[in-house]
């Protein structure tokens, strides 16, 4: 009866993973989000970009259910097994790396799964290390392992690579992409980086003043090189962000 270590969860193409209907959020009366209606298909990788203060984090936190106390209404349908990847790695300093990965898991065999998740992010052998002894990039990889060991149906990531240097960020993109492929969770990735969005996502949303102003599928083949198709999309998205200077 024991589930195998990596139960196969076949993506159901028609299933909706996330559905928002007329969702709004306000901070002290000021409308910050919506009204917004949005659907994500199961297994879809959605990137959300938009200028600072446009409401990206507010949307992500609403979907994550981390925004109680915030005014607003609307109907949200979200899978219960979701995990959040924050901009900071948010590791508990008094727990070892492995304890951080399996934080909140109690099922039998969690440690084994945690170790495998650590190996997946290239940190095998560092199970017993304290988070303080890891570099920033390594800490974020532990956070990624913590998110993925739960095999969530929905992964919510708010600028998870924003604090990393360019080289580490590219490595993290590849890692995330590879790991996502194993279980195909629905992903919402908030990012400032247009290239990151185009490189990874099946669909890019551009948000402005709490509304989605561009909703654009990305049909380029993987792995995505910076070719002509890439540049066209990039120009389009930058224009939507109000950036005219295309380099």
């Amino acid at each position: 009866m024991n589930a195998s270590a990596h139960p196969l969860r076949l993506p159901q193409p028609d299933a909706l993973a996330v559905s928002l209907r007329d969702v709004t959020r306000r901070f002290s009366g000021r409308s910050v989000l919506g009204p917004l209606s949005l659907d994500f298909a199961a297994g879809e990788f959605v990137a959300l970009i938009g200028r600072s203060g446009s409401g990206k984090s507010t949307l992500l936190r609403a979907i994550a259910g981390l925004d109680d106390g915030v005014e607003g209404e609307g109907r949200l349908t979200v899978p219960a097994d979701r995990s959040v990847l924050f901009q900071d790695s948010r590791l508990l300093p008094w727990k070892t790396v492995l304890q951080n990965v399996v934080f909140g898991l109690h099922a039998e065999g969690s440690d084994e799964r945690g170790k495998r998740a650590l190996a997946d992010v290239g940190l095998a052998g560092r199970e017993a290390a304290w988070p303080n002894a890891l570099s920033g990039g390594e800490q974020q990889r532990v956070a990624l392992a913590r998110s993925l060991v739960r095999q969530p149906r929905l992964l919510l990531a708010d600028e998870p690579f924003g604090a990393l240097d360019a080289l580490t960020r590219i490595r993290m993109h590849d890692l995330l992409f590879r790991l996502i492929r194993q279980h195909r969770p629905t992903v919402l990735l908030v990012t400032h980086d247009v290239d990151e969005a185009i490189k990874l996502a099946d669909r890019v949303l551009v948000m402005d003043e709490g509304r989605i102003v561009v909703d654009r599928p990305v049909s380029l083949a993987h792995p995505r090189a910076k070719d002509a198709g890439f540049d066209v999309l990039r120009g389009e998205l930058l224009a939507a962000l109000g950036v005219t200077d295309t380099i």
């Binding site: 981390l66 924050f86 300093p93 909140g104």
Partner: protein, 294 residues
């Protein structure tokens, strides 16, 4: 002479250019001799160097006594005190009084720490607890322990209970203040993480709130240990028939400055020893703070 220095300067300036041009540069000392930067902060002391001051004081003190400049009526020589201490130790007197003092101090410390911790948890983890407890502790904090002695004597008599109670009542304050502050200052990002992984309240307390408050508790404990000895010294001056304080008081009546010095030395050793023990424990419990690149 002037020619030579001129030549030196010329080499120094031309060498980099020569190297760039592909001409092998003259052999230069490496690393290049540098003018030393002024040290702005004093360097770290080698281990044990902290003992220099105390040792120097004892030596001067001994010299002053030997030369007769310091009368034993005024202050006994360290060597005399050492000898007296050894005698008291052999006769068993010292052990008896030492144990009496240590029992008082550690009983008061233990009770005070337990009370401080319980109050801090009640007040740090519930609003009703904070509303009922915090104000009272702040008021208690403003009242010096000494001022409570008359009331404590009326309530508990002049025996051990009064002394232990007063030590505990002065010890619980720093424990409470620091643990409570740490519980209140819990990192909101950790709370969010706990919620996002679906932690129960019990698990949250065990795995996030309490470990997060541990550094605060240790800060409180180190203060509490000091407070405990201070309170002990004051309390042992009143009506005791046992304890280091009693020993010293009696010695004063007989003008035995050597025994007074022994008493002071024991207080110092106990205080330092306790602080050291707490620090050791703290370092072990909070070892995760050290970032060792392994």
């Amino acid at each position: 002479m002037s020619d030579q220095s001129h030549a030196l300067i010329a080499t120094a300036y031309s060498a980099p250019f020569a190297a760039i041009a592909g001409v092998p540069a003259q052999a230069h000392p490496f690393p290049p001799a540098q003018r030393k930067l002024p040290k702005l902060a004093p360097g770290r002391l080698p281990t044990g160097a902290i003992l220099f001051g105390p040792v120097a004081l004892v030596v001067l003190w001994e010299l002053a006594s030997v030369t007769g400049w310091l009368s034993p009526k005024f202050l006994a020589a360290p060597s005399t005190a050492l000898f007296t201490g050894f005698e008291l130790l052999q006769s068993g007197t010292l052990a008896e009084h030492f144990l009496a003092s240590a029992r008082r101090a550690y009983l008061g410390l233990g009770i005070g720490v337990a009370i401080g911790l319980l109050l801090a948890l009640a007040s740090g983890l519930s609003r009703i607890g904070e509303a009922s407890i915090d104000g009272l502790v702040q008021i208690k904090r403003a009242i010096p322990t000494l001022a409570l002695i008359p009331l404590a004597i009326l309530w508990l008599g002049i025996g051990e209970a009064m002394k232990v109670a007063l030590i505990a009542s002065s010890v619980f304050v720093p424990i409470y203040i620091n643990t409570h502050a740490a519980l209140r200052g819990i990192d909101i990002r950790h709370v969010e993480l706990a919620r996002s992984v679906g932690l129960t309240r019990g698990a949250f307390l065990r795995e996030v709130a309490l470990p997060g408050a541990l550094p605060g508790f240790f800060t409180g404990l180190r203060l509490a240990v000091t407070t405990c000895w201070t309170a002990l010294v004051v309390l042992e001056q009143i009506n005791t028939s046992q304890g280091i304080g009693y020993l010293m008081n009696r010695a004063r009546d007989y003008g035995q400055t050597d025994i007074i010095v022994v008493g002071l030395a024991i207080y110092a050793v106990l205080g330092l020893g306790s602080d050291f023990a707490v620090r050791l424990w703290e370092r072990k419990a909070l070892s995760y703070r050290k970032a060792l690149a392994s």
